[in-house]
Structures are given as C-alpha cells and as structure tokens.
Symmetry: C2
Subunit: 343 residues, 2 copies
C-alpha cells in the first residue's frame, strides 16, 4: 500500500467557464483509519456536470468544495483496508468520495457494496446503474408521471441522465422528443436511442426553439424532463399542455454564466396551463434505490436501455475530461478509470 495519495484539488473558484488553472493534482498523506472507516482504492470515478455547481460560491444541495481540498464525486473502489467488520478487503463499494487514488470512507445511506459479478460492466455502477440512472428514473417517473400516449420532451437528451430518462419514457409508451447540441448527437437520439424526434438547440433563439418544439411535439408536451434551464426551459413552457409536468433536474445552461440567467418570459404559462414544475435531488429517494436499481438492471440486461460511456484513463485526465463534459464534447457518460484491473 502506498503512503501518498494523489488528489484532484480545487485551486481557485471559476468565474464563468472553468479552466484547467482552477485545478491541480497534489499528493497528500493518507490518514490512519478510525474505527468504522475503510480505505478504497478507487477504480472508477464519475464526472458529472453537477460538480460545476459545487465549485462556486453558491449553495447547493451538496456541500461546496473547499479551496485546496479534493473534488468529490461518486466513485467505485476496491476495499484495501478496513476497520469496519462488515466490509472486507477485496469487496467493492460505491459512494460519494474524494477524486483521488484512494479514499477513506465509511458505510452510510449512500455508500453501498456492489456485486460486480451481477452486471456486464463494472462502470455501469457509476452510470446507468448508479446516480445517473437513478436520477433519470425518479425524476421521470415520480415527478414527470408520464402515461402511455403522452409526449415527453428531454433536454440534454444525449447526455448521461437525459438518455436514460428518454429511454424510460419510450418504455412507458410515450412519444419522446430529445433536445441535444449538434446534428451528430441528434442522429444518435433517433437512431440509437429510438426517440421519435430530435431538436438541435445550437444557434437557435427562443422563438425558433419554440417553433421546433411545436413541430416535434405536434400534440404539445405533457412532461418536460429538463437538465438545462435557460431558453430551452423558457421555450418549453410555451409548448406545454394543460396540467403538464416539468421535472427540473439540472440547469447546466446557467452554471457557467457570469451574469444572471435569461428571464423566463413564458412563466405565465405556469398559470394559464396549470403547470407543475418540481425540482428534485436523487438522494431524497435513497430508501427506494434498490427498487429502482432492480428495474434499471433488468432493462439494461434486456437491452431495453442502451447506455454510452466515455471512459478516460488516469487521474491526469480528470480535469480535461470534466472540462470536455461541460463543453458538451463528451460521447456518453464521462467516467474516469484509475486502475485497469476491471474491464
């Protein structure tokens, strides 16, 4: 076992779009384990847009990352030492940990053992069978409440959460419209994920987006699963049907803004159409994760949900991969592999 631990730390708070200068890799000694703690050698690290929110001086539902401290995210690791009798070296654990070679952690509602023999692909525990899939599952089904024959629209539909939400909506018998950036991603939405229509938001203003949404959803939108905010949300408000539901999952269009977000010019539609908009945090549903994971695992194993991962190798790739993710240049869920022991 090593005596030092490489960590990706926050060096300065980004204003606007983060750059590589905001981060660094340092080496820190590993503290001795306290009773109940165990040490993980991280194998996979999930890189998510939500990390951006925790880099800035705004409060969020998870703690702000402190200057000079390691970033945190969901990781999958192998236990290499343990002072918890219920956790043995060689077992695998998923939880919210430091982005580093090793993490000290303990059991908790969000830290759970995973059985790598049950799934095709270990990294899935950080994606479709992890927070990503769970976020899509609860946001779409519990907040969106789609019923067969309704129209569901998903923003960032080629992204990790969006692609799962869109495919679950298809499984539920809905017409599904995906929004993504660029012709290539839009082609993937229709050809690979089987969506009914795709909208390329790039270089579109509010008015044009609304027109495109109306064309793609001629019966109007009953459920909007939104990862983006900004003018996509504003345009969607104009296309919602009476009693429509908006599951607010993320506001990625707004995280890097230096100034205020654009106004919601169509907010009155909330009243005129009796719309419901509801934000959510997947951790709220922690006591139902196993139920959801059973569904997700079955759908993945049956090939009903297709999931893309972009696996990057090595801790040095953490920052460039995160920046690529924020830029929308990724091809699937961004995951970092820190060890090549597991395929």
């Amino acid at each position: 076992m090593t005596t030092f631990n490489r960590r990706v730390i926050l060096r300065s708070r980004p204003v606007g779009i983060p750059t590589a200068d905001n981060f660094a890799i340092d080496q820190a000694p590993l503290p001795p384990l306290e009773p109940g703690e165990f040490l993980l050698r991280n194998v996979y690290v999930s890189l998510d847009p939500g990390i951006r929110q925790r880099l800035s001086q705004v409060d969020s539902y998870v703690a702000l990352i402190r200057l000079g401290e390691a970033l945190t995210s969901t990781t999958l690791g192998e236990v290499v030492a343990s002072r918890d009798p219920s956790v043995q070296p060689g077992e695998h654990v998923v939880g919210f940990h430091t982005v580093s070679d090793y993490s000290v952690t303990r059991r908790g509602p969000l830290t759970r053992k995973v059985d790598l023999t049950r799934t095709f692909c270990a990294s899935n525990h950080l994606s479709v069978l992890g927070m990503t899939g769970l976020t899509a599952y609860f946001g779409l089904l519990d907040i969106g409440l789609p019923t067969s024959g309704e129209t569901v629209m998903v923003s960032a539909a080629a992204g990790a959460v969006g692609s799962v939400a869109a495919q679950i909506a298809k499984l539920k018998g809905c017409r599904v419209v995906g929004i993504a950036g660029g012709a290539r991603k839009c082609a993937i939405l229709v050809e690979e994920f089987g969506l009914d229509a795709a909208i390329d938001y790039q270089q579109k203003d509010l008015a044009l987006l609304s027109v495109m949404m109306r064309e793609a959803a001629p019966k109007g939108v009953d459920v909007f699963f939104d990862n983006v905010g900004g003018i996509q949300l504003d345009a969607a408000l104009a296309c919602m049907n009476d009693r429509g539901r908006i599951a607010l999952c993320g506001l990625i269009a707004q995280y890097n803004l230096r100034g205020p977000p654009p106004p919601l010019t169509n907010l009155f539609k909330m009243i005129a159409k009796s719309l419901r908009m509801e934000g959510f945090v997947v951790l709220t549903y922690a006591d139902r994760f196993s139920e959801a994971l059973d569904d997700l695992e079955r759908w993945v194993n049956e090939g009903k949900i297709i999931f893309r991962e972009q696996i990057e190798e090595g801790l040095e790739r953490a920052v460039p991969s995160f920046l690529q993710l924020l830029d929308g240049g990724n091809h699937g869920k961004m995951i970092l592999r820190l060890s090549d022991t597991y395929a």
Copy 2:
C-alpha cells in the same frame, strides 16, 4: 326595459401601464334573446388584476378581449327577461359577463344562481364568496398544502385574493407572513387580518427582500402563495424550506412590463430544495366550488375571515377604478356597483 346598453369597451391595446385612452364607454343595441338565454341587469361588477392580462396580445387562460368589444368580468345581476324556463325574472345570477349595464347570458358551469338572503352582503358573491375567495381557497389548500406549524408567505397579501389566502392559512394554524406595498397596508395585515409579520416590498431590491423574508420567516417558508412574480418570487425562492410549495396565482408585477421580466436568479433552489411550483386556474376546480363556498361562507359568517371591499359607483368609474387597482391604490377588493337596489 331599455333599448340600449352602455358597455366598457377596449379601444386600443395597452403597451405597458394601461391608460384611460385605451378604453371607452359606448352604447350598443341589445340583441333579442335566443332560446336558453336570459338578460341580466348588472348590479355588481368585479374588477380584477387578471383583466390586464386579457387586454394584451398574449394568450391567457381566458380569451383575449377583442378591440372594440366589451371587457368581460364576473358580474352579479338580476334577471330581467328570460328564455330559459329554469331562470326567472327577479332571480340573481353570478357569472362571467360583459362589463355593461345589461348582459345577455345563459346557464353554464360558471354561471350560477345566488341566494342573496343567505349572506350579509350581496357584493360578497363577487369577492370572498366568489372567484376571489375560491382562488385563495384552492390555491392555498390544494396546491400549498399547508399544515399546522408551517410558515406560509403570501404576496399582495392586502389584496383581494391574498388577504383571503393569508387568513385561511391562519385558520389552519400556520405562521403567516404577508407582503404588501406601503406601511399602511402592512399595518392592516397585522392589525386587521391578524398576520404574524408583514413585509413592505416598496423600494426594496432582491437582496433586501430576501433578508426581510428571512427575518419575517426565521424557520424558512414552507408555502408561498404568489400573486406577484418578479423579484418577490425570486427572493422567495431563496427562502423556501426543503420540499416547499409555491402556488402561482398571478404575476401582477409582470403584466405591465414593456420588456422581459427580471430573471429568476434563484431558480436553482427549485432543485437544491426539492421545491414544487404549480400554477393554477380556479375554473379547474369548478366541480368543487360548492364545497369551498360552504367553508368560506361559514368562515365569513363566523367572523373568521375579514374581507374589505372598495365599492365604486357607476359604469363611468369602471376604468378609473381598474387603473387604481393596477396601481395598488385600492383598499380591498375593487367592485363596481351599477345599481343601488342592493346594499
């Protein structure tokens, strides 16, 4: 019976704040009654902020008022002629009618007979026992879902809908914070309506409003009943508790804007705090009006809900009174009396 009918018509569409020039009073002949129709002599006319929305080129949940046509609103009238066997001259009817001396109408889900002997004050059927009270009732109870001990905040709390919503929240055992414009209205909120705290929004920016809300609601806000939108809504988002509910009833701060509304800089709180925001239209609840009116009538008769009306006399006062209402200069629900037969 007269052969002509004075009507308040829309002469031009206002841009920004309406002025008297946008309106006129004309005289139009009364059409002969078709089978099923009856003729009302209007006694009371409700003047509501929501009329503003229907004057402009934006769609709303009720039809836009057409240029050259009479304004429409809720009126209470006496039947003076009828081709509906179930409606007799001398009976009284409340419904959505033209703002005019006489209205031709027919029975429908929103047009109902009222028994003037059951209430202290006939005009109450256009206020606390009409759409105003029903809007407060369903918005607060069905969307806000307040429980005893929670904190409820109401904007435009000295206004017609807001004052009823705030008092119902008090009846349900909540701490209630009202927002209103000016020291006088704020004093009324506390001293007359019995609210726990009042916030004067005038000359306050977003940051100061948030601070005042936190002071007035030290445990945070569980339910926000919003009639206003704009920076009051934005500030409220920052003060909501986990799983808070926002009942979006109106956006009066935005109706007269020439440009876009201010941005909702705190929209991310929807996600971080798992908030639900829901717009509503009282007509949705039409099949439950009688249940709600039973409650409201009992509360009014028991003195548990106090309600202010500002009664203006004569059709000539329709436009000045409406403009005063939009300016916030009214003292209670604005009602026009067209005949002095009923007190």
